[in-house]
Amino acid sequence: MLIITCPNCGSRPVEEFRFGGEIPQPPESITDPFERDLDQVWMFTNVAGVQTERWFHDAGCHRWLTATRDTSIDRFVD
């Protein structure tokens, strides 16, 4: 079972949380403002590796937190 450490509530099972997805990060190489907006809204890095992402503690403190997870094995990393 996956455990998420919530800064407010401590270690809780992943089922209590809602997944908010990777934090959008348009690459530096995109400089055109329109292209940056497009990337911010629609595109994903979708990395097979360590991803910085948001989770919402639905069954707990009702706050967002940031976590890092290795998506290639679906395990949280510190």
């Binding site: 992943v14 089922e15 809602r18 997944f19 997805g21 990777e22 690459p27 497009l38 990337d39 629609w42 595109m43 994903f44 890095t45 979708n46 990395v47 097979a48 991803q51 992402e53 997870r69 998506t71 290639s72 094995i73 679906d74």
Partner: protein
């Protein structure tokens, strides 16, 4: 019609050449169907399909094989209806027995709001040519006598939309049928050949890198399922795609002859019977993105319980196997087919949890696009450029049943 095992023996494997007109990355249904139609409809046979593992090892050999056209927007319905039509003649076309069977598909409704959705689904699809009618509980019971219309006292069945031409086919036979048809016409299918990078010349993609050497190509197509973001990144292309796991399981055999496919948008699960008599049960994709193929107990438990409300007989069955696939889910739940901003690099992706049914039409359209250099009208709405043009193709019909 040939017995399949015998036709399999006609597969001929080749050593890679250093150059092809077209290199297709990914030996799933979409990659192999594209190769097949390049050969059969356009006479282009100097083609290689590079598969990291064995052909059909991705989602094309892991899915629940539902073929349907009742989607949520006219552009999708038209596309999937064409694919459904191609499936219905694929056995004659390829000479391979893919075990195609028309079963019909019921989408159950337990609440008034769900009934409104099913009514809208039936009307839209009928208007667009995908035969779908509304049925009441008595008609549903006649189609599926095993169904508990009270839903275990929790999920009463108020009605359903019934998509009459929905069907299934044996998934790996579809893959082999296209592979064989392509290989017999000279296409090289190279298994155990992962593509590790793309070769670029200025702004163009001109080939692929593999462990055994570089292969140059006039056109490179990515058809790699859940790994698409990695391949596209080699070309500097960013995609509105996230990789989510999708799970399914089968039980041991139940009396043959279980009728239609049953789907439930409120319970988020669906069921059908395989040709072996096993009950095949699926669900929505996992919430969090992941490339892991680890299956979960939570999935098994939740869906076994939900199915037992609807079909009490499943309580007496045993779970045989469960498995997971890696799905390339697009941001608007519609496929992404065609050109990218990079010359020489085309993609077919966004197949998410619904792309098995699309293999014939997707392959045919991508073959035409590669052969003619123009986007076929049928897939124009599904170009990657739609996101920049603010024409996302949000399709609710992609969810619920696969």
């Amino acid at each position: 019609m040939n017995e399949f095992v015998e036709t399999l023996l006609e597969l001929t494997w080749h050593e890679p050449k250093s150059s092809y007109d077209v290199v297709i990355i990914g030996g799933g249904g979409h990659g192999l169907a594209t190769a097949y139609y390049l050969a059969t409809q356009h006479g282009i046979t100097n083609v290689a399909v590079l598969e990291a593992d064995y052909i059909g090892s991705g989602n094309s050999g892991r899915n629940t094989t539902i073929i349907r056209a009742n989607y949520g927007i006219p552009e999708s319905i038209r596309f999937y209806q064409h694919s459904l039509d191609l499936y219905s003649t694929l056995e004659q076309e390829t000479g391979c027995w893919i075990m195609h069977a028309t079963k019909g598909l019921l989408w159950l409704a337990h609440t008034e709001s769900a009934m409104r959705n099913e009514r809208a689904r039936a009307m839209l699809n009928t208007a667009c040519g995908a035969e779908t009618v509304l049925v009441d509980p008595t008609e549903i019971k006649a189609l599926v006598p095993q169904l508990d219309l009270s839903g275990g006292g929790r999920y009463p069945v108020l009605g359903a939309s019934y998509h009459i031409p929905a069907s299934t086919a044996r998934h790996d036979r579809v893959v082999w049928a296209y592979a064989q048809g392509a290989m017999q016409r000279g296409v090289h299918v190279l298994q155990n050949t992962p593509v590790t990078g793309l070769i670029r010349d200025g702004d163009r993609v001109v080939g692929v890198r593999t462990a055994t050497g570089d292969i140059s190509a006039g056109v490179v197509m990515s058809a790699v399922g859940g790994n698409v973001s990695q391949i596209a990144a080699h070309a500097g292309v960013r995609l509105p795609v996230r990789t989510h796991p999708l799970q399914a399981f089968v039980t041991n055999g139940y009396a043959q002859g279980f009728g239609p496919i049953i789907s439930d948008t409120e319970l988020l699960c669906y069921i059908s019977q395989t040709a072996r008599g096993q009950m095949l049960i699926g669900h929505e994709y996992d919430r969090e993105t992941s490339y892991s193929l680890q299956s979960s107990f939570q999935f098994l438990q939740a869906n076994a319980i939900k199915m037992s409300y609807l079909l009490p007989f499943v309580r007496d069955l045993k779970i045989l196997r469960q498995w997971t696939g890696r799905c390339d889910v697009s941001a608007d739940f519609s496929p992404i087919m065609g050109f990218t901003d990079v010359d020489g690099f085309v993609i077919t992706t966004g197949w998410g949890t619904w792309g098995f049914k699309a293999i014939p039409a997707g392959g045919e359209a991508m073959a035409e696009l590669i052969a003619t250099g123009r986007t076929p009208e049928l897939i124009e709405p599904f170009a990657l450029s739609r996101f920049a043009a603010d024409h996302a193709m949000a399709d609710q019909g992609s969810t619920g049943t696969r």
